[in-house]
């Protein structure tokens, strides 16, 4: 029997002070803690690492402070296309989805691909349809949008129009 442990990340970047207020930083840390606790609760109850990582990622997808789910970056066409995957170290089973636009929690769709299909990776509309057929909640694409991502896209497009996109900072590109 092993002692359980869990780790999470919410992306790396410049963390420029002017991008977020202190209140935003505090909420970011609170959401990280909530994600950890979601996974830890499963692990300490004797649950699987697979369930724990899925639960932790769902919390982060639902937070506006991270680039996944609600809060995700926008494409050049001002829509969201989301990717996710999950892997079970015990069996090497894995599932993933890419460029999905409607599944509220892409990590749950990835898990469904792993558990309920013969595939490893499904893409686009077919992945959305597969997840929907498995009863996973769907949302309008605008659900994923936050004001900060709208501003970030406008800023980068303005740079492109001025011909200065090569000077865009890491924060502008990735948040």
């Amino acid at each position: 029997m092993s002692l359980p442990a869990i780790a999470i990340h919410g992306g790396c970047g410049t963390l420029a002070a002017n991008l977020q207020s202190e209140a935003d930083w505090a909420q970011t840390r609170a959401h990280l803690e909530a994600a950890l606790r979601a996974g830890w609760k499963i692990l300490t109850a004797g649950g699987s690492a697979l369930d724990a990582v899925e639960a932790a990622v769902v919390v982060l997808e639902d937070s506006p402070h991270f680039n996944a789910g609600h809060g995700a970056a926008l494409t050049e066409q001002s829509v969201h296309e989301l990717d996710a995957s999950i892997m079970d170290g015990a069996t090497l089973a894995a599932g993933g989805v890419c460029t999905v636009r409607a599944i509220r929690n892409p990590i749950r769709a990835a898990r469904a691909v792993m558990d309920q299909s013969d595939c490893v990776l499904l893409s686009g509309d077919a992945a959305d349809a597969f997840a929907r057929s498995k009863g996973l909640p769907t949302v309008a694409n605008g659900y994923f949008t936050t004001e900060r991502r709208v501003q970030a896209l406008a800023s980068l497009k303005a740079r492109a129009a001025r011909g200065t996109i090569g000077l865009a900072s890491e924060a502008e590109r990735h948040g």
């Binding site: 029997m1 092993s2 002692l3 359980p4 442990a5 869990i6 780790a7 999470i8 990340h9 992306g11 790396c12 970047g13 963390l15 970011t28 840390r29 990280l32 803690e33 994600a35 950890l36 830890w40 692990l43 649950g47 699987s48 690492a49 724990a52 990582v53 932790a56 990622v57 982060l60 997808e61 402070h65 991270f66 680039n67 996944a68 789910g69 970056a73 494409t75 829509v79 296309e81 989301l82 990717d83 996710a84 995957s85 999950i86 892997m87 079970d88 170290g89 015990a90 993933g96 890419c98 990590i107 490893v120 990776l121 994923f144 896209l153 980068l156 497009k157 492109a160 502008e172 948040g175």
Partner: protein
């Protein structure tokens, strides 16, 4: 990008990653996150890994699997393998990169070569840690 790795009481490892990609990305672009071995990998007895950064480089380097290979083939520790990937390989490409990883003993590593990475862990000691900046 967000991700999680875990070790459970049965000794099983798992990894998960989810992302919106990057600002103004081309329609249809797929990064490393959903690619097994690139952005996400788990193998019992070795490690579980979830990556964040410029996806194309992680895909070319098969980054998450690279950590596992360094450990299982090269005999490196989790820290040696993750530090080599982030600080030697990725930094050598001038790529902003980070990852979280956990080994079969529950040791956690969370290296990154950017100014910060939102991260947290509860180790085998049961203590919760959350951080955003380098310190």
């Amino acid at each position: 990008t967000v991700g999680a790795v875990a070790l459970d009481r049965q000794g099983d490892l798992a990894a998960a990653t989810s992302t919106g990609g990057f600002n103004n990305k081309p329609a249809g672009r797929v990064g490393d996150t959903p690619i097994v071995g690139a952005g996400t990998y788990a193998r019992n007895g070795v490690c579980a890994v979830s990556c964040t950064g410029q996806g194309e480089v992680f895909m070319r380097r098969v980054a998450a699997y690279d950590v596992a290979a360094r450990m299982s083939y090269g005999g490196q520790t989790l820290r040696q393998a993750t530090d080599t990937l982030v600080f030697d390989v990725m930094s050598g490409h001038k790529i902003g990169a980070g990852l979280i990883a956990i080994d079969a003993f529950g040791q956690v590593c969370a290296p990154f070569n950017t100014l910060g990475m939102a991260r947290g862990w509860i180790g085998t000691d049961g203590v919760l840690n959350v951080a955003t900046h380098k310190d």
